[in-house]
């Protein structure tokens, strides 16, 4: 799995390529918490377009990201969920908890949540 960040206006986009699993999710967690806690990014958007699968450790890392964003009064969103990733979030009943968008432009615009159809 590869993870990188880039800036778009005030938002920081986290691009992830590859599956998020038990073994690499600490890396995702570290990047998210670093952006939210240390760099105090006002809006973090996770790009999941190139993530095929997220296991429960990956989901837990995203949940931590969301929790910290709320603690820090920033916002946390994601876009580009694969069908499998979406199913995992639906099964864990988190799809309505996260701010989910279909694509990057929508995520940057913000506003409407959980409207993205499965890819």
């Amino acid at each position: 799995m590869d993870i990188s960040t880039r800036q778009s206006g005030t938002a920081t986009i986290v691009d992830i390529v590859g599956d998020i699993t038990l073994y690499n999710s600490p890396q995702v967690r570290k990047v998210l918490l670093d952006l939210l806690k240390d760099k105090k990014s006002p809006r973090v958007i996770v790009n999941l377009e190139k993530v095929r699968y997220i296991d429960s450790a990956g989901v837990a890392s995203l949940v931590e990201g969301l929790k910290v964003s709320r603690d820090m009064k920033s916002t946390f969103a994601m876009f580009g969920l694969s069908r499998t990733a979406r199913e995992v979030l639906e099964l864990t009943r988190l799809i309505k908890v996260f701010e989910v968008y279909d694509n990057e432009a929508d995520a940057l615009r913000g506003g409407s949540t959980n409207v993205a159809p499965a890819r």
Binding site: P26, A57, A60, L91, T92
Partner: protein, 282 residues
């Protein structure tokens, strides 16, 4: 002693979609052979139920599949690797992707439910405690035990203990889940709840599931395929639907719950008592 029955299915090459492929598996306890050359495959994402009466070898088969017993010969292919012959380190890695729910639950009584579920994650991963805490809550939610993480196993009912054990088996997101008599000792309503949970897990996570049971109603509800074991050999391997129509005498006897016939004749009885030639029932 009579010679053990010969295996009735010939070995085949594992299919490309087989999550588990068992070939010519033989297991002995000392000199006594329990499994006499077992062959079957479990396609990925399907639920295989292993049916059989007491002493049929079904629990030995399950214990061998998860690596708790060593085969005397044969192959067990799991996720494309021969589980029986790979080096220990590789087998341990493979085992992390296998979840096992034991008959009695096997929860650690001195640990809370949450600590029981967290244990495999603490032992086998580098995850932070905060991540593990969230995962434990996710797993407990999946088995309908939200909010029970601080309970001790002794404070749970039989059905809840089973659910907690399933949550622990799910901790590492296994690709394959094994159940030993999941509804044994539970009342029918609680047992139905466990069946429903197994169906949900299969559908939700597309897991390959292997269940050992002798509960017929449960077996037909959850199974895609079934094998019937009798005296250490497979007497039937078919879809659940086809198996119900089976005319194989031992399968019919099991499905129709026909008791074993009484031994007839003084010679049979004497031979049974003296162990000379144990009577073979058909």
């Amino acid at each position: 002693m009579s010679s053990p029955p010969k295996p009735n299915l010939t070995p085949t090459k594992p299919s490309s979609n087989a999550a588990i492929s068992v070939r010519n598996l033989r297991v002995k306890y000392g000199e006594r052979e329990i499994l006499h050359g077992i062959n079957f495959e479990v396609p990925e994402g399907e639920t295989m139920v292993i049916l059989g009466g007491s002493g049929s070898g079904k629990s030995t088969l399950l214990r061998t599949l998860v690596g708790l017993e060593k085969p005397s010969s044969g192959e067990i292919w799991i996720q494309g690797k021969d589980f029986a012959s790979i080096p220990d380190a590789e087998r341990d890695e493979l085992r992390k992707k296998m979840g096992m729910s034991f008959q009695g639950g096997a929860l650690f009584g001195s640990m809370t439910v949450g600590e029981n579920v967290a244990l495999p994650l603490q032992e086998h991963t580098q995850l932070d405690d905060s991540t593990i805490e969230i995962m434990v809550r996710l797993k407990l939610d999946q088995v309908g035990l939200s909010g029970f993480e601080n309970y001790m196993p002794a404070q749970l009912s039989g059905g809840m203990k089973k659910r907690a054990a399933i949550a622990r088996a799910l901790a590492m997101d296994p690709a394959t889940l094994f159940f030993d008599e999941p509804s044994a000792g539970l009342d029918p309503i609680i047992a139905a709840g466990i069946d429903e949970l197994i169906l949900k897990l299969k559908k939700a996570f597309r897991m390959t599931i292997v269940v050992v049971t002798h509960e017929l109603a449960s077996a037909f509800l959850i199974a895609d395929r079934m094998i019937v074991l009798d005296k250490g050999v497979i007497v039937a391997d078919d879809t659940a639907q086809n198996l119900q129509k089976s005319t194989q005498p031992r399968v019919r006897q099991f499905l129709d719950r026909v008791p074993e016939p009484e031994l007839t004749g003084e010679i049979d009885y004497l031979q049974m008592l003296t162990g000379d030639t144990p009577p073979q029932r058909q």
